[in-house]
Symmetry: C2
Subunit: 372 residues, 2 copies
């Protein structure tokens, strides 16, 4: 069993441990030498180049992804060459293009913020007028971790993007500025043959557009857990997603769940599952894309908290702080992505699982703080 | 942080996942190409050749082991060259030579079976006469997985070994045939700076001299848990063991604990900890040999059961049975060592953790049986 992963970042890296456990051979096409998933890298090259990707995909049983940026024409050439690709291009396009995603959510009847495609300043002004003078404007493609997203109160705020779109750059869309109580994320994994498994609903806290902290299960979720699972299952089936799917959600102040974003890969909101679930999202993703039976998504403890290490220590590597961090928090599971510290960069994360949420949150925050 | 592991078997393989999580660079000196730990192999060569091992050890922070067979003179050359070696040769010799081990246990006052070094047939006959006509005879060096061990009722049963010893082959020792109720194993890990952590006592079942099944915590252990931990701590400190130490124990019919064997490395009786403990024996071993603070050894559930897959399926690889095994037991954690099936060979293991021992045992046995 050979799984080819396009992209050598930390998501590919975190597929290595379950691949080792299951005896799956992992082959990574990395963007450059020395990337986070270097241990499993069998090729270095440009994922936008069809020839590079086709050569990499030779002899693998399935191709999957560390990110969603492989162009549609490259994906289609893989499919045309008879390579199993999961998720397939027909699903991935909804993770690559937010206008297509919003349109498809509307067709599926899944609750989401008011939105409109925006091609001109007039269209944006009309949307602002209808929504109290404020909106979120996004580039339809290319955004991640808060990039490609702006809060807008007048067309001048995105004059550059409007001009860019007119000049053939990324298309734009506007979304209502949702008054939300908190953000949540629902993860599922789905096999090509249809089996689907959901993890408990996660509560996520974003800072500066980057996932900072995840608590599972989301406290005081009540029936929302079932509603979120139902939404994610409908999306996974409606879009024919294979592998891991994360549905980022807003919980509105009046208690509704609205779809914010989709990710068709292991997702930051699911890193807790490495240490907190019988089957981690990374193992489940491998099983799903190989069309193997999925594992139990039950939690190993009543509460799990994951904190990202963003930026990292002045010494340049998380490892420099291990003597202090590991001594202070012997229950913390520390994950380093073998990246050099840089402001705003995700260089690792810490997870703690246990019986008492308060205690778990304290330990996880204390351990993660050691690395700042 | 770079850890060099001599030996490319499944124990080295199972160090890869925690090394990836912690950002530790693992370098393996494998005996040949395509071994179980091939993913981390940076060199292939003979661990009995000092030049090979010294070249491998260049630039690593510490050398540790997949097995205990590296000759003392090679180990000593590493130490003389300034390489950190954990466990060190002064400790490892007690895992390499059962006569030295028995002598040292006696000096430490640790309970063990009656025993005697055997150099001649007369000495063996005297030991048999003193012990009801039966004994266990072992080669002091070179034995593993039931090899180098015989039940003996007369000197003719080991005439070949006696001749071998006289001709300069492995030395021999005799041990009383212990009437035991069951076998147990106590694992600890110890840092060079002295910190030591113990896991719960494990109950082990051997078949044909090979570890077949492990239940943790050992049922109905009562005070034996504390006694076993005390023994293992005294041994680890008395022998200055660094890294993982497993103490195999007999529980006698009259309720005493006697030391059977020692292993100074991650041990089959601790594989359950990958899925059942906050810190696995493999992560703990890496932390210990790097002299990093040790992690919590608390269990993630009240019961854990590990079953070895011995031999493996007729199709040659465990993976051939995944569709059936994973579907039937979604909570089972299946570990493949990427080895081809062969009678008597450990090719993988299955662990299940949960609240109810009966249920956990059933699931683990059912999953493991799929691979036979």
């Amino acid at each position: 069993m050979i799984v080819g992963v396009v992209g050598g970042g930390q998501l590919a890296r975190m597929m290595i441990p379950p691949a080792v456990a299951l005896g799956v051979e992992l082959r990574v096409l990395a963007e450059s030498e020395g990337m986070s998933a270097a241990l499993a890298a069998t090729a270095v090259g440009d994922y936008r180049d069809a020839e590079t990707v086709l050569a990499f995909a030779k002899d693998v049983d399935v191709v999957t992804f560390d990110h969603e940026h492989v162009p549609q024409d490259v994906l289609q050439q893989l499919v045309d060459a008879g390579v199993a690709v999961h998720p397939g291009p027909h699903a991935l396009r909804f993770a690559q293009d937010k206008r297509q995603m919003r349109q498809r959510m509307a067709e599926l009847g899944v609750a989401q913020p008011d939105w409109a495609p925006i091609d001109t300043a007039d269209e944006l002004q009309a949307f602002l007028d209808e929504h109290g003078g404020a909106a979120i404007v996004k580039t339809a493609t290319g955004g991640y971790d808060g990039k490609g997203v702006r809060v807008v109160r007048g067309i001048d705020d995105v004059a550059d993007w409007l001009q860019g779109a007119a000049d053939g750059g990324p298309q734009l869309l506007a979304e209502e500025l949702v008054a939300f109580r908190r953000e949540l994320a629902q993860q599922v994994a789905r096999r090509p043959s249809g089996e689907i498994v959901a993890w408990p609903l996660a509560q996520t806290v974003q800072r500066d557009g980057i996932c900072a902290e995840v608590v599972v299960p989301a406290p005081h979720a009540g029936r929302m857990g079932a509603v979120a699972e139902d939404m994610a299952v409908r999306i996974a089936e409606g879009l024919d997603v294979t592998g891991a799917l994360a549905v980022e959600l807003f919980e509105t102040e009046d208690g509704r769940l609205l779809v914010n974003e989709l990710a068709m890969r292991p997702h930051n909101s699911g890193h807790w599952s490495i240490d907190g679930s019988i089957t981690s999202q990374f193992e489940q993703h491998l099983r799903a894309v190989l069309d193997l039976p999925l594992g139990s998504s039950a939690m190993l403890a009543p509460a799990a908290v994951m904190i990202n290490v963003i930026g990292g220590p002045a010494e340049g590597r998380m490892e420099a702080r291990y003597a202090k961090a590991l001594a202070a928090q012997p229950s913390a599971k520390v994950h380093s992505y073998s990246k050099t510290a840089r402001p705003g960069r995700k260089v690792g994360h810490v997870t703690v699982v246990g019986d008492e949420l308060d205690e778990v949150v304290y330990q996880a925050r204390a351990a993660a703080a050691t690395f700042e």
